[in-house]
Symmetry: D2
Subunit: 246 residues, 4 copies
């Protein structure tokens, strides 16, 4: 439950900044006055983003953390809180995917995708929740995708991870809402407009046919700003020209 | 698709202002600069709201219309457009309910609830869509409820209407999104904090245990403001202390 | 809850025998020993089916009834019970559909489709339930379709009816199961192999690409036979070669 | 796709016979004439069941296999096929659960529950599918539960596994149905009537308030018997007196 004048209080923690909306989220949260902790397995890549935020007058810091390692995540939250104050807003953004016949899915890759898509979300959500429950406030946002609610042919591994993450988010929302912690699951059903998708040629889908990361970040932040009498649990988002899969 | 600086263009039409979030929606939209058309079966009750909006420097006008009558809705849109300009944002808010054993549900009441909950939404949505498709832009928001996705014992009539309204919203979103029209379905899973629920004693549910109408109106308006690369279809909302029914 | 040796007790009532699985259901139920009441708006067409059942040693009778008229359905159940004994198994099969742009859907056809798809189901279900609750046993089966859970572009009217019927079935199951009445919702997601679909050229979909009505009737009857400790509420059915829409 | 006279062809493989409906499934399948392979981590416990089946004139064999180990499952299918012929019907029944605050869930137990509930299902399903796709026929049944579609407070670990298993089943059904392989997901929403639940005192829920395992096995077998023009994907089952959670 943010203050009504939108003056930010508390730190924001973003896990999974490599691709997806992570970069735009960091800029949006920092722009609103939150000190931002950026966590990634390879934090060197985050230096330009930290510099960009600081140049704009914001506060940011990068951390090395493998979200699927319990100890690493506990350390991340301890360090971020010591550096930036109690996390008020935590986003879990990480994940992995493949697309192949079920006949060719190997247990090792199935597990690896689940670790980043689901297990990491549980660990990050739990560590975020510990402090938030103690303080009676805070917001945890999970990033879902096209495979969060429907498992098409070829997507067993990705869908098992994303269905699982949705289960974690639901169970957390059921338990933590009455304790003052807002848990929401953002379902992104389309391609995200970033360097990677452009390199892949996905920019050919027409004007505004990929989700603009600034627009996505705005929806996340507005969800954070929701008054506690009116909390969203699930928001599904797609470009206007994207066929619905639900 | 609003302009990026949030300066409002186009009129807003709100059907069903009697209870629920209608009043707060009108104030929010008018405050953002939209001329607001308010439609109800008994528009006399709307005079104080029109006066309040005008006193605050906004523009509003009330219309008599039964949303379940095709001709009445066509007339409403013709008059509202002539008076206030093309509708850019339309909200369907009306509905009815009862709660009784299926053994006691009469066809007449089952139908009456469906007419206000579902048929009216189809007619209003269709009439809104006609102009929006021609202009290639616009937003239509439908208000759902606890019975939109789950039909508990005693709620057959209400749920048949609300499931049906959700079907209308889905079919419209599938068809109209690629034509530039944003259709969204807002699911309100809790009691709304207004005079009626307070009279019913529903204010006993604890602090912020009823949905504040201003907070609801903010979520509706933020949904309207979403960039077309990032449109929500469904947003479920409830107070922090409300048990989940999904 | 049938007797364990599958020797049928009680009458079966099938509403909507015109197309769909109605004919096969009648043959299956009569073959198991149930006296079968067949209801349709134009019962003359049912004479050959009644004759076929009787020639095979079964018992059947046709009734004129518009399922959307409350009085007609009450009369149907009164007459059927007087003629054949208390209904033990009731199937609601009727419905209507169209496929057109939401911009072209007229209120009158939207309502007409809803009346046959949803309102009739509520009335038939309710009248069936009255006797079953009193007797503490019985089974009511509703036939859903591809538009019961997902409303694609062009299907607003059909989906509003089928979503609504699903709501009725859910509310009835929640209320009536603890009273000993089994309510189930059978979702048929594919074309049915009958004269009409063959005339439409739908027989071109490949071997077993349309739902064989005998196979469908078997699934319905097995659902009826389920022990009360193990009742299905929803069963979704499609041909092996049919793409999933959920 | 079974032969129409129900004379069984092909072996059945049941993974997870410890609790749940495994024992009754084995008896039902063997009674229909299938040679049955029973797999468990501790196969010694299966000896009485094998003896019981053989005493009744059936054919059964037990195998030691950890379903979460890829090599063990590959070996299981190789041995079972060598011993009993090609598997025609495979059931995945295993799983684990806990119930505790998200704040107390440890990564190790979260992962362990997922391994038995979801990963094992993927591996068993994949190995079953390899031969079935080659033969163009076969049936794979997965056992879901109350946490397959809804994650209540305290059930994050179980639900992450069961949501994930449902994703695997869906992706497999989408891919394998057109190849002649029937994949279905049976959702058991209630307590199962077996020694363990009776010891736990769950037999106090009233007559037929726990799912009778013979009744469950019948539903599984009838699903196997479905004609390929009429395949169920999902069947949700509960006792008549059990409150619905969906």
């Amino acid at each position: 439950m943010p203050s009504s004048d939108e003056s930010a209080t508390g730190a924001a923690v973003i896990v999974g900044v490599g691709s997806g909306p992570g970069r735009a989220l960091a800029l949006r949260f920092a722009g609103a006055g939150h000190a931002v902790a950026l966590a990634a397995r390879a934090p060197d890549k985050l230096a330009p983003l930290v510099a960009e935020i600081e140049a704009a007058g914001g506060s940011a810091r990068s951390y090395q953390a493998d979200a699927t390692e319990e100890q690493a995540v506990e350390d991340l939250f301890a360090r971020a809180e010591a550096d930036l104050g109690p996390p008020e807003l935590v986003v879990y953004n990480a994940g992995g995917r493949n697309n192949k016949s079920i006949l060719d899915v190997e247990a090792a890759e199935f597990e690896m995708i689940w670790r980043s898509s689901c297990l990491g979300g549980m660990i990050v959500g739990r560590e975020a929740a510990k402090g938030m429950v103690a303080r009676g406030q805070g917001t945890i946002l999970f990033t879902g995708g096209r495979s969060s609610r429907r498992a098409l042919a070829g997507w067993a591994a990705f869908a098992a991870g994303k269905f699982g993450l949705r289960a974690v988010a639901q169970a957390m929302a059921h338990e933590l809402s009455p304790k003052g912690v807002h848990v929401a699951h953002m379902i992104i059903e389309g391609g995200i407009d970033n360097e990677r998708t452009r390199e892949l040629g996905n920019d050919k889908v027409g004007p505004d046919g990929l989700l603009a990361t600034e627009a996505l970040a705005e929806v996340y932040y507005q969800t954070y700003l929701q008054h506690r009498s009116c909390w969203a649990f699930e928001v599904d988002l797609r470009p206007w020209s994207e066929p619905f899969t639900t």
